[in-house]
């Protein structure tokens, strides 16, 4: 068992059940405003309304403490100014919602305590919907050690200038299972706008992330689908990273990245140095680091000239950044079984390369007269058969591919490497069991 998990016998919010009864729920909408004690009904057991014309600093946290399982904490429209973190833990079926991402704003610009806007721990089936958290001192909404987490139409926004002082993560589920992030918006995070770490069964879809260092990052996860998102004006659009020294999931694997738009992710890197994402060169569309089994397809990558799609082992990071050394015998730094197909690339001419890695790559590209859209670092694990560490690149229109031999300091660059001329079986859709909104 990798997460603390409580029994999940009573799950009226599960996807199938919700689809089945949705018409009934709509018809009976007014009734849900009445409290009910029926054990297996789909309606919320009780609703705690929070509005700006009351002492909401107290009543909101009170509701989060006193809410019974399957209760809803409902923020009315308006701007709620909190000076402390809101927190909730050890409950089942809780819905925390507003009345619209643009009309219900939880503002933390005057925060004096807590490192997140909202912190939820040890939850079973929790939903965040239709609200925005704004200007947190640290992360936006962090969910830890929970099973069944959904975000619908949630915003996490740092309105401040893009500096290392901004919070690291906007939406931040970590060590969780069954995570759905749908139609959310993040701006200004100094690490990843949407970050899912050390979790299983993950969908990140239809989100819009801009002006963060990393738009969306899936880190040390098992089974994730990232699709239908737009990442623009970040340093890097979508990252699929496997990092060492993480205790809960050691080696991330099995992630699909498809149907996303990566547009002009050319923001200068403003991550605090020392963090892994501080190594991302601006102009990165999608980067796969040290992962096993990743399928990247049907993405539209525009104006991400440095690394349209980069496939990199952790060895390269160690070569480029001495601060990346680690002591973790269970960690596997190599990349295995990656397929990249049916993506389209549009390069913007005259793009200024920047940053240590960006300038290094530019020099390598110039010296070898290449302009690759898909860049492989050329790492190879001698202990594993070649057939088990294929990186296959096909059907990407006229996209250029290059093995830049980064682990040997770019000594032997190979344009259009023959080794990438292969195919792999498609990865299956990631199954998740995340809660859906009851109303």
């Amino acid at each position: 068992m990798y997460i603390r998990k409580r029994s999940k016998t009573h799950n009226p919010l599960s996807m199938n059940a919700a689809n089945r009864v949705l018409p009934w729920m709509l018809a009976l909408l007014p009734l849900w405003l009445l409290p009910s004690c029926k054990e297996d009904s789909l309606e919320p057991e009780g609703i705690w309304f929070i509005s700006t014309d009351e002492d909401y600093k107290t009543t909101a946290q009170e509701a989060l403490v006193n809410a019974a399982d399957y209760d809803t904490v409902h923020f009315r429209a308006g701007v709620f100014e909190f000076n402390t973190q809101l927190s909730v833990s050890n409950k089942t079926g809780i819905v925390i919602r507003g009345e619209g991402r643009d009309v219900t704003i939880l503002d933390f610009s005057a925060q004096v305590a807590g490192a997140q806007g909202i912190l939820a721990t040890d939850m079973v089936d929790i939903i965040f919907a239709d609200l925005t958290v704004r200007d947190m001192a640290g992360d936006g909404i962090k969910v830890k050690d929970s099973d069944g987490i959904s975000f619908f139409r949630v915003g996490a926004v740092y309105t401040t200038p893009l500096t290392a002082d901004n919070g690291a993560y906007g939406l931040y589920p970590v060590t969780c299972e069954d995570v759905l992030i749908d139609d959310c918006y993040v701006r200004g995070a100094s690490d990843a706008g949407i970050y899912v770490g050390q979790s299983r069964q993950v969908h990140v879809r239809n989100c819009y992330v801009e002006e963060c260092v990393a738009g969306i990052e899936v880190e040390n996860c098992i089974n994730a689908d990232v699709y239908g998102n737009t990442a623009t004006k970040n340093t890097g659009g979508i990252l699929v990273f496997d990092l060492p020294s993480l205790p809960v999931i050691k080696n991330g694997n099995t992630t699909r990245v498809f149907d996303n738009d990566l547009i002009n992710n050319t923001q200068g890197n403003f991550a605090p140095p020392g963090n892994a994402v501080a190594n991302i060169p601006e102009g990165t569309g999608i980067m796969i680091l040290a992962y096993d089994r990743c399928e990247v397809f049907n993405n539209r990558i525009t104006g991400c000239n440095t690394l349209g799609i980069g496939v990199v082992s952790y060895l390269t990071l160690e070569v480029l950044d001495p601060g990346s050394s680690y002591d973790d015998p269970d960690y596997d730094p190599y990349v295995y079984n990656i397929h990249i197909h049916d993506n389209t690339f549009n390069r913007s001419p005259g793009y200024p390369f920047a940053g240590v890695l960006g300038l290094t790559l530019q020099a390598v590209y110039t010296a070898n007269s290449i302009s690759p859209d898909i860049v492989l670092d050329g790492s190879f694990n001698p202990a594993v058969p070649e057939a088990d560490q294929k990186i296959c690149v096909y059907d990407n229109g006229g996209a250029q591919v290059a093995n830049v031999d980064a682990v040997n300091e770019f000594a032997n660059v190979i344009p259009n490497p023959v080794s990438a001329d292969c195919t792999l079986s498609p990865l299956p859709e990631t199954a998740i069991d995340a809660p859906l909104l009851p109303y």
Binding site: L64, V65, A113, D139, S245, P247, N275
Partner: protein, 366 residues
Amino acid sequence: MHRFFLTKPVKSRPVFGFLTAALLLFSACRDDKGLGNGFSLDSLPLEQLSDYQLFEGALKDLRPGPGLLPYDLNTPLFTDYAEKLRFVYLPEGAQITYVDEATLEYPVGAMLFKNFFFYADARNPALGRRILETRVLALHEDGWKAYSYLWNDAQTEATYRVTGAVLPIEWIQEDGTNRSIQYVIPNQVDCQNCHQIGDPLMPLGPKPRNLNRSYSYADGTVNQLEKWVEKNWLTGLPTSVPRMPIWNDPSSGNLNDRARAYLDVNCAHCHRPEGDADNSGLFLNVENASASALGICKPPVAAGAGSGGFAFDIVPGRPDSSILLYRMNSVALNVMMPEAGRTIIHQEGFELIEAWIASLSPEGCP
């Protein structure tokens, strides 16, 4: 409506307060775990601290009645220089069982009371003090529960409060400096987040190794664990119990042991394999024997601005390049560690960890 409240007693919107009160009375009637003070475990949390009837005389004097014993710790958690008065309560005839140096098995009905206060002038306690909060841990049949009480300005009563508070506090430090802070009382979920070790809540401070010290009771100075045995409160105490050093008393342990004690008490409620910061892989509990997990030459995980631009949590011999120390030396919410429990820097704790990192060798990281 009535059925609704019988099945969902915890939902107490103000308009239905009288029903909740009725329910509390009801549960008091079907008392099956009497605590010997006229209330039952089921009726917790009581609305007022005085309702527990465990203190004698004026409440603000915090003079323990017969069911209470004060205790102290070798190395306590730093909370903005707040002074603390701690008490353990046992129901009549109940006993604590010694398990190991880090674990006591408390009987159902046991309670811990931790009172936080500031002297107006730390140089002269006779000038008075302001008590801010009393945190209660009570052991129910299904585990420990945490309750927090907020003291009134008149210092006559403390009232149960789940939401925490932010209070402006001024006092004069022992060195004569005027201090003024926004003291943060954690909300009930924050209490759980620190005290939840794995699944259940646990007391953090009163472990045998940290309790293993003398205390000046009204009737004389004696080792706390021996006192508990003498009162028939503790059973199974071995002849020798490891003693956690006093973090700021060099006669109680060497630099390494005192630093590890400080990190254990101040960080390891989260930074342990079963704690809330397990995703970081940084384990600061004294039991951890892995140098990498202790942070030595370990790159940060999800540190954000907390990295301070540095590459490793601890760089031996180089405190100025160590993330751990950088985060102890900050009050920025997205940088400082611990995340909860302090709003100002613990200068003396900082100096201890600074000296410890400086003492580590060989210097530097690969």
